[in-house]
């Protein structure tokens, strides 16, 4: 929801970033205020995922220019774990499998890490189990999820639900969801979108990175940004997403 005078959570100016020495982001400007939902769209290779990973601090993505102010501080001065503790969350496009670590242990570890930051109580395995099962209901996640290793052997849909489950546990102030809709069937998409909608509050914000408009039928964005060639080339409201769905990306590229 756009509100005049809402607090600025993230202000990116002229962001440039390289992967393996190749410049992918070529000057991005984006301002996200509390309570807003932004959609970052664009064709494959336009730099959407690079943008998401650069904000989260992936070591393979080298920031080569520009600034990002997060909650008034310098985002790029923080290590990835510090960004997470400051309330930034990246929902992975390809959630990583970690055989040998149980999902329940991992989720509790992540939750307790954030609780320590928030000054809340850390939960022991039994307490956490109760708390977790409540959250899992929201996302229609089966209990067997917990006994398995992190994302190990999960289907694409299960992995994405596990990401949103983490988002629900960590209660981020700024969630960047990278292609969370890809690989989901329509029912799973609805469940995941409902989960996200419940987590959007006046004091936090969501950036949805997506190739397709269909997720935006369920999570209504306040702003739609179109990326191409490492820049945001057009910004509009929800209607822009519908227009992209109808006409494709070529006309935006041509206009830019």
């Amino acid at each position: 929801m756009i509100r005049a005078g809402a607090k600025v959570l993230l202000e990116v100016k002229g962001l440039r970033a390289k992967v393996a020495g190749v410049e992918i982001l070529k000057g991005i400007d984006l301002t996200v205020r509390a309570g807003e939902v932004h959609a970052v769209m664009g064709p494959n290779g336009s730099g959407k995922s690079t943008f998401a990973k650069a904000l989260a601090g992936h070591p393979a993505y080298e920031v080569s220019g520009g600034t990002a102010a997060y909650d008034g501080g310098d985002l790029f001065a923080l290590a990835p774990e510090q960004r997470a503790r400051a309330g930034l969350f990246l929902g992975f496009q390809y959630p990583v499998e970690i055989p040998g670590v149980s999902n329940s242990a991992f989720l509790r570890l992540a939750y307790n890490t954030m609780q320590a930051v928030r000054g809340g109580d850390e939960l022991d395995p039994l307490e956490f189990d109760d708390y977790l099962r409540e959250k899992m209901k929201l996302l229609a996640i089966d209990a067997s999820f917990l006994d398995r290793a992190v994302n190990d052997g999960f289907s694409g849909g299960e992995k994405k639900r596990n990401e949103i489950l983490q988002m629900a546990l960590l209660e981020p102030r700024l969630a960047i969801l990278d292609e969370t809709d890809s690989g989901l069937d329509i029912d799973a998409l609805r469940v995941v979108a409902n989960g996200v909608n419940r987590l959007v509050k006046p004091d936090n914000a969501v950036v949805l990175v997506t190739h397709y408009q269909r997720m935006l039928n369920y999570i209504v964005p306040d702003y739609v940004h179109v990326m191409d060639g490492g820049c945001i080339v057009k910004t509009g409201g929800k209607a822009l997403a519908e227009e992209l769905e109808a006409r494709g990306y070529d006309w935006v590229k041509a206009a830019a």
Binding site: G57, P80, V96, I98, G100, V101, A105, F106, R108, A149
Partner: protein, 449 residues
């Protein structure tokens, strides 16, 4: 090719000094012992010039004047209790190679299940034993298998009769107590058609000693039989362990091996799985977790001698200090063994600059309609996994500790004996954590298969 010498190798000669044909023999067994003795005398101790021992220098073994263990040690149950898997309803314990009835449990087994010292079983089950004992673990070219067979007496015999399902594990505990003693643990397990068995072999020591275990195990799985085989080598840090395990699988048999090497200054395991019938299903999991100046060598062979075999192999090494891990994974697909599906993965994690690993896949494929793959990685932790954990707020050091633990735990967690999983997880924890960083999660939350 190994050199055959006319005079016995002095080291072998020393190990065979005072050799007497073991008592309790039947004629066919004495014959096999005599053949093995002849081979032991004829073969020489392998060196790094032998292809099979290229990466593993066993000369430290030959510098210790081992003598035959004498059966005098009598540990009491309290000393042994920590090695006992509570899940196992049958257990045979051997102390320095000698059967210890007071530390064993063999009563109350159901009809069709025999867990017994080999000598005793020779009286009752000779017809079952004769076709298999010393028939699968070849000693023609293997001096250590020949030595073991020449000394064959106090072995373990496990027999699960046709279509019998023995749901609880059978534990074979081989304990060493004597300084500079050589022992020859031996096992024959026969799981007949349609039967089911979980076998635990556990090599451990009471106290820090330098000793030598020369172990041979033969496992025979009949048609459609299912065998889960857990092998834990947690010898004393100064010990030497050379093991041969030969597995013969009939049509549609399932065999899962979980081999964990933690102890010994120098250890070697030859795990040879022979597919004798169509449609077998094999899983081979291995973990070597070593540090200091340890050397752990695994040579595996999956021999697809018949069509339609499926094998999944995952061998992992976690190497710290100046330790050295060796893995040679041989897969043979014989002519006509069509529709074989065999995949091997070798994953290695080095925890220090001086840690060393030699890993070698060896695929020999003589059939054209097959699916065979292998992959090997040697290196540090996975950067994507590390970033994933950090992006959830975990500090770099804690994330590394967790991933190092998880690397080993993946193999441990698949062991079908919960008490062993718990014990071994603790060992993995103790050996993989950077001490200044606390454990990032609570024990007992590991993955259960």
């Amino acid at each position: 090719m190994k050199m055959t010498v006319t005079a016995p190798h002095p080291y072998i000669d020393a190990l065979l000094k005072g050799y007497e044909v073991p008592r309790g023999g039947v004629s066919w067994l004495n014959e096999r012992r005599a053949q093995a003795l002849e081979r032991a005398n004829a073969l020489t101790v392998p060196t790094t010039r032998d292809e099979e021992w290229r990466f593993t220098d066993i000369s430290p073994l030959t510098r210790v004047p081992f003598r035959r263990a004498v059966g005098t040690a009598r540990p009491v149950m309290a000393e042994v209790a920590r090695f006992i898997a509570p899940e196992a309803t049958a257990r045979l314990t051997f102390v320095d190679g000698v059967f210890a009835p007071e530390l064993s449990a063999t009563v109350g087994l159901p009809y069709g299940v025999v867990v017994s010292p080999l000598v005793a079983a020779l009286d009752t089950h000779a017809a079952v034993i004769e076709p298999h004992l010393a028939r699968h673990a070849g000693f023609e070219r293997e001096v250590f298998a020949a030595l073991n067979t020449a000394y064959l007496r106090d072995g373990a015999f496990v027999w699960i009769a046709r279509d019998r399902n023995h749901p609880t594990p059978v534990q074979l505990l081989y304990l060493s107590t004597q300084q500079e003693a050589a022992a020859y643990p031996r096992c024959l397990a026969i799981v007949e058609a349609g039967a089911d068995c979980t076998l635990i072999e556990d090599y451990a020591s009471l106290g820090e000693r330098v000793y030598f275990n020369d172990a041979v195990t033969e496992i025979v799985a009949g048609e459609g039989a299912r065998v889960r085989h857990v092998r834990v080598q947690r010898e004393a840090g100064g010990a030497f362990h050379i093991g041969h395990c030969a597995v013969a699988l009939a049509k549609d048999a399932h065999y899962a091996s979980h081999a964990v090497a933690l102890g010994a200054r120098l250890s070697r395991l030859n795990l040879d799985v022979l597919q004798q019938g169509e449609g077998v299903e094999v899983r081979m999991d291995g973990l070597a977790l070593i540090s200091g100046r340890q050397l752990a060598d695994t040579h595996s062979l999956m021999d697809h001698a018949r069509p339609h075999g499926r094998c999944r192999q995952l061998h992992k090494c976690v190497v710290g200090g100046a330790a050295h891990a060796v893995f040679n994974g041989r897969i043979v697909v014989r002519p006509g063994s069509q529709l074989t599906d065999s995949a091997q993965q070798s994953r290695n994690l080095l925890l220090s600059d001086k840690a060393h690993v030699d890993t070698k896949p060896q695929l020999e494929i003589f059939a054209d309609d097959v699916k065979c793959s292998h992959g090997a990685t040697v290196g540090q932790l996975d950067a994507e996994q590390l970033f994933y954990l950090r992006s959830r707020g975990l500090p770099d050091g804690k994330a590394r500790n967790l991933l190092t633990y998880a690397f080993g735990a993946e193999v441990i967690d698949r062991i079908p004996v919960p008490s062993l999983v718990e014990q071994l997880e603790e060992t993995v924890l103790a050996q993989t954590q950077i001490p200044t960083l606390s454990l990032p999660f609570v024990k007992g939350e590991g993955v259960r298969p």
